[in-house]
């Protein structure tokens, strides 16, 4: 084999091995990662929704959102991409009331997800802001991403 070719193939394979090893350990989509990303994303967006609706004193810390996720029922391992993730999100609203809601989460292999909450908890697609305008509801359905190896 040509020496340059040989060196390049060796180098390329070494790089590939390095890259795949650094990311090994199966899927990057795991329950803890999804739970913390979903809770954090929800909290940020809920603060924005509160701002639109004119509620004051709402902060990420005050909401104290948390999520508990499950994929495909008890008989399916809670890891990997899929549209069958169900996450129970718990948070405190601006009146100190604690709420819980089931979010349907579609997790993708690229460590991003799309989450949709129950409308009786998060409101409809659009909400009315303090000026009376209809604007998109940031928590109705939202995207998020997380570090697949944090």
């Amino acid at each position: 084999m040509h020496p340059i070719l040989k060196a390049a193939l060796t180098g390329g394979l070494a790089l590939a091995a390095a890259a795949s090893l650094s990311g090994c350990g199966g899927t990057g989509v795991t329950r803890p990662r999804l739970e913390s990303a979903l809770a954090a994303t929800f909290a940020n967006l809920y603060v924005q929704q509160a701002g639109i609706l004119g509620y004051s004193g709402v902060s990420v810390a005050q909401i104290a959102a948390s999520a508990a996720c499950d994929k495909g029922g008890p008989r399916v391992a809670d890891a990997g991409p899929g549209a069958d993730w169900i996450c129970l999100v718990t948070f405190t609203d601006h009146k100190q009331g604690t709420h819980q809601g089931k979010f349907e989460v579609q997790a993708k292999s690229n460590a991003c997800f799309v989450a949709g909450g129950p409308s009786k908890l998060v409101g409809l697609t659009t909400i009315t802001d303090t000026h009376g305008n209809d604007v998109p509801n940031p928590v109705f359905e939202f995207d998020g991403c997380f570090d697949p190896r944090a």
Binding site: I4, G11, A37, N44, Q48, K108, S109, N110, F146
Partner: protein, 291 residues
């Protein structure tokens, strides 16, 4: 056997300037000049400049935003969302196609025109021609990326506005923070784009057929995209050349992460080195019999 006197005279009056040999930069300059003379290359650059403007206008007029793609739901909220939507979309097949239009053709067209024998019987080596063509392809790919990015970002911020952008953890990014992140996100496409350029170069050299060189990388990109979207193939996913196109996600979360970015650089470098090395070896060894 004796040579005639005239041959001896000819030898003596050979001017010294004739000994100045052309280098790879000369060959590169001519590759670029050839590209500039080709309608395909000119239209690709023009399209990269104008198509985003059109796309932004059309998307902006949509009542229903394309929610299936990341940032699709935010296109009316911020002018910074549209470039990220377009970036995600371009990675699916547009980037591989745009670079392959030149890189997939640049070697094979010499076979098509039968001009290998014309250029390789001058004073430049196959190695110099190889690098000139490869560098020309990479420069073209980078120009296309630059035009697409500049055009999309400018059009979108003029048409939609420069509102703050929702990050990928739901956090609000004010305009002055969003712009550098959007620019950086587009910059992360450089490495995999060069990787796809190398794939196109390889196909162009090996197939000697411009159609294979242009269509091949697009098909490979789509197949990789599909393989990457399947679950349970994570080890494979890491090695795919399409995965680095999504590494910008880590720039837009609240806690930024760079693992996929670094992997993306390594994987792109790996693909680039292997493809170029094989292409080089094949070009060096092959018999030029056509033309």
């Amino acid at each position: 056997m004796t040579a005639t006197t005239s041959a001896r005279i000819r030898e003596v009056r050979r001017p010294g300037a004739a000994n100045r040999r052309p280098g790879t930069p000369t060959a590169l300059r001519w590759e670029l000049r050839k590209l500039a003379a080709q309608a395909r290359a000119r239209y690709t650059l023009l399209g990269s400049l104008l198509a985003p403007v059109l796309l932004v206008l059309v998307l902006d007029g949509q009542q229903r935003p394309p929610k299936d793609n990341i940032y699709g739901r935010h296109i009316h909220d911020s002018g910074y969302a549209m470039p990220l939507l377009v970036l995600g979309f371009a990675a699916q097949w547009v980037f591989p196609l745009l670079t392959a239009l030149v890189a997939g053709d640049i070697f094979a067209s010499e076979d098509q025109h039968g001009t290998w024998k014309t250029v390789l019987t001058r004073s430049v080596s196959r190695t110099q021609i190889f690098w000139a063509k490869t560098v020309a392809s990479v420069l073209f790919a980078l120009s296309v990326l630059l035009l697409l990015a500049a055009s999309t970002i400018t059009a979108s911020s003029l048409i939609v506005g420069r509102q703050s952008l929702v990050g990928l953890t739901g956090q609000l990014l004010p305009s002055h923070a969003a712009l550098p992140l959007v620019l950086a996100s587009w910059a992360t496409a450089i490495a995999p784009l060069i990787g796809f350029t190398a794939v196109a170069v390889l196909l162009s050299v090996v197939s000697r057929n411009p159609a294979v060189g242009v269509v091949g990388p697009v098909v490979i990109g789509l197949v990789m995209q599909l393989a990457g979207s399947l679950g349970g193939l994570d080890a494979v996913r890491h090695l795919l050349l399409t995965t680095p196109f999504e590494s910008w996600h880590g720039l837009l979360t609240e806690d930024r992460f760079s693992g996929p970015l670094i992997d993306g650089l390594l994987v792109s470098a790996g693909w680039t080195v292997v493809c170029l090395a094989v292409a080089y070896a094949v070009l060096r060894r092959r018999d030029i019999t056509g033309g």
